[in-house]
């Protein structure tokens, strides 16, 4: 799975979770860039991403990801 494909699917997840069809994520996107991306919605985001890509994040990864780029790296390694 290439990065573009991941970003495309990831974008749909972000739009659903934050209920905002105008969202467009890039590897540089962080929680600062999206209004509702707080620690609570992070939980829902993680669950939705795991569901979308058929994989689980490790505990350390869940709390350690600094931006969408790191998320993409993990997905490309283990996602389906």
């Amino acid at each position: 799975m290439n990065t573009n494909e991941i970003i495309k699917r990831l974008n749909e997840v972000f739009r659903d979770v934050f209920g905002d069809p105008s969202i467009s994520v890039s590897p540089a996107t962080t929680s600062e860039d999206i209004d509702d991306w707080d620690s609570i919605e992070h939980i829902n985001l993680i669950a939705a991403v795991e569901d979308e890509f058929g994989m689980r994040f490790k505990m350390r990864e869940v709390s350690g990801m600094k931006n969408v780029g790191e998320m993409i790296d993990i997905i490309s390694e283990r996602g389906k």
Partner: protein, 598 residues
């Protein structure tokens, strides 16, 4: 919204919750508003988000208060100004086995020590409930406790004195006991829910360490749905009717083709057994006050034939309405709804044919439909759907079906007659009109005290006064019982007249509204006149005393042919009838002779 009905896709709802909420709030449905306080022993945010969606879909618009993280005990027992000013309509205590602080620690502990631990653990929760009920007189819903995933000692954990599973099960019994003894206190059974989801799926250590969720986020939709069912049941939002298809739903095969001897129901075959079990399961709902109806494409004759199969658990009389014809099913359901004076949002429709379910859903979106591959799937969907979630059982529930059945049959019958008189004749009414027999005294007294509408003088009597009037020579006392081919209405009318030489003053004339427009009042008048004549009376005086509720009988005596002597300013009126040339008015009710069985 179909997406929120069981069986639902929990992860999709979770992911799309913002859009789903937006859609629900803009659909124009009228909803009741309720303030719900969630006191948590772990994180509750997504539970609340999902609960909101399911409640909105059940017609309830919630406003939420959430306690500080894991402060359920402190906020309940020591109070919280925020909770006070929120003034909840309902409180949900979301605790789980993660909140148990008194679990046995050593296998050396004996029964007495463990019992002590149980008492203390239970005491902590009892303190919470008592304090809440002192501060807020509102319903309280409490989770019971889920079994642990891990059992160090295997099966022994479930029965050994210091086993954690054993401890939790004993505690759950204590919670249930408390719930049965305390109105407005309800158990949310996460012990069942965690089992039905699977403990392996339910428990999620990472969700605990990362987010302090006491269960996997993947089962949060199940938890929220199950809780929403309890809440909507408390607020009377349950479904009330199960409309059932027949062929391949209540029995295997097609009655029209296979005949009564050819359908599969009963112990002979595996499939026959499953249909029997399904019928028993459905009949159990009826026992809890759910109304059953048939909605089937069939000849009515064949439908009844199938239900009269010797092994059929459900009999024709178990249904308040049987619609077996070749009309569209949605049309039949709408008609049934009208006959029962219920909305289509009270209906659950069960049919093995998904196409029929789709048509009904398309035409009547408020009807819940259940399609299935085998009847066990239907039973399971019905069970998990929470459509008939019970939070209390009233005496009315236990008799609802009979009452509705008789009324629905009368209404249905009325349609088949062009004239109302023919309809009345078709009811084959029989009345027993007699003096105040001892067995009727308490019912007569009850009627004099609760009848307001069809009541000319609204005079209230004690049981003693009724007994005295009944035995007095100066009085003519009558009570009337009306039965028709659909059922016995019991004592429905009472008349008391006082003799003054050749005149009779009617002191009381009342009738129960359940037999309005059945000519029962004419039958009562006929009998009153007959008895009056036998006492040498020539004139009957009637009195109408106006109240805010009895306008329907202001002209009753006029309709009987009485002459009005006086109309007072306050609306009261006085009437009289000379009975020398009176001829009987009742033409539709057969009067029982003395001693004849109705």
């Amino acid at each position: 919204m179909k997406e929120l009905e069981y069986p639902f896709d929990g992860s999709s709802i979770m992911r799309r919750k913002v859009a789903v909420k937006r859609e629900l709030l803009s659909d124009g449905t009228p909803r009741i508003k309720k303030k719900i306080a969630v006191l948590g022993g772990s994180t509750t945010n997504h539970i609340v988000s999902l609960l909101e969606l399911f409640l909105l879909n059940f017609g309830i618009e919630p406003e939420f208060y959430q306690s500080e993280y894991n402060k359920f005990y402190e906020e309940a027992v020591f109070g919280s100004p925020e909770l006070d000013s929120f003034a909840p309509d309902l409180i949900y205590i979301h605790t789980t086995s993660r909140n148990l602080t008194m679990l046995p620690e050593s296998p050396a502990e004996d029964e007495q020590q463990v019992s002590q631990r149980l008492e203390e653990q239970f005491g902590i929760f009892r303190q919470v409930w008592e304090s809440l009920s002192q501060h807020f007189s509102c319903p309280v819903i409490q989770n019971n406790f889920e079994l642990p995933l891990l059992r160090r000692t295997g099966s022994y954990d479930g029965w050994g004195v210091t086993g954690h599973s054993a401890f939790i099960q004993r505690l759950n019994v204590m919670l249930s006991d408390h719930a049965r003894k305390n109105a407005s206190f309800y158990i949310h059974d996460i012990n069942y829910l965690s089992a039905v989801c699977g403990l392996e799926k339910w428990h999620d250590a990472e969700a605990w360490y990362l987010y302090k969720y006491a269960m996997s986020t993947s089962v949060i939709p199940d938890l929220a749905y199950s809780l929403a069912c309890v809440i909507k049941s408390i607020y009377g939002r349950n479904r009330k009717v199960i409309a059932l298809d027949l062929d391949n739903t209540l029995w295997g095969g097609v009655i029209g083709d296979d005949g009564q001897e050819g359908i599969e129901i009963g112990p002979e075959t595996a499939s026959g057994q499953s249909f029997s079990e399904f019928q028993r399961y459905i009949k159990g709902y009826k026992d809890y006050g759910v109304l059953l109806t048939v909605c089937s494409k069939n000849e009515e004759e064949n439908a009844v034939l199938g239900l009269e199969h010797p092994s059929s658990v459900l009999r024709p009389s178990d249904f308040v309405s049987i619609k077996a014809n070749w009309e569209q099913k949605d049309k039949n359901i709408s008609e049934t709804a009208e006959e029962l004076s219920l909305g289509t949002d009270s209906f659950v429709f069960i049919d093995d044919n998904p196409a029929e379910c789709a048509i009904v859903e398309g035409q009547l979106p408020m009807v819940r439909t259940v399609s299935f591959k085998d009847v066990h799937e239907a039973m399971y969907k019905l069970s998990r759907s929470g459509c008939f979630e019970v939070t209390s059982v009233s005496a009315d529930d236990l008799h609802r079906s009979e009452m509705y059945a008789a009324n629905a049959k009368r209404t249905a019958q009325q349609k088949n007659f062009s004239s109302y008189g023919d309809y009345l004749l078709s009811l084959e009414m029989k009345a027993e009109i007699c003096g105040f027999l001892p067995v009727y005294i308490s019912r007569i007294t009850q009627l004099t005290n609760k009848s307001n509408q069809f009541n000319l003088t609204t005079r209230r009597y004690t049981e003693n006064e009724i007994r005295q009037a009944g035995q007095s020579d100066d009085h003519i006392c009558l009570c009337g019982r009306l039965e028709d081919k659909f059922g016995d209405n019991g004592i429905v009318s009472v008349v008391i007249g006082k003799c003054r030489n050749t005149e009779l003053d009617i002191e009381l004339w009342l009738m129960s509204c359940r037999v309005l427009k059945r000519d029962m009042e004419l039958a009562m008048l006929d009998e009153l006149v007959r008895l009056a004549r036998s006492k040498g009376i020539t004139r009957i005086n009637g009195f109408y005393y106006k109240t805010p509720k009895n306008r329907m009988v202001s002209e009753l005596y006029g309709s009987f042919g009485f002459k009005r002597d006086e109309l007072k300013e306050n609306g009261d009126s006085i009437w009289h009838l000379n009975i020398n040339d009176y001829s009987n008015k009742n033409k539709v009710i057969k009067i029982k002779e003395q001693g004849e069985q109705l």
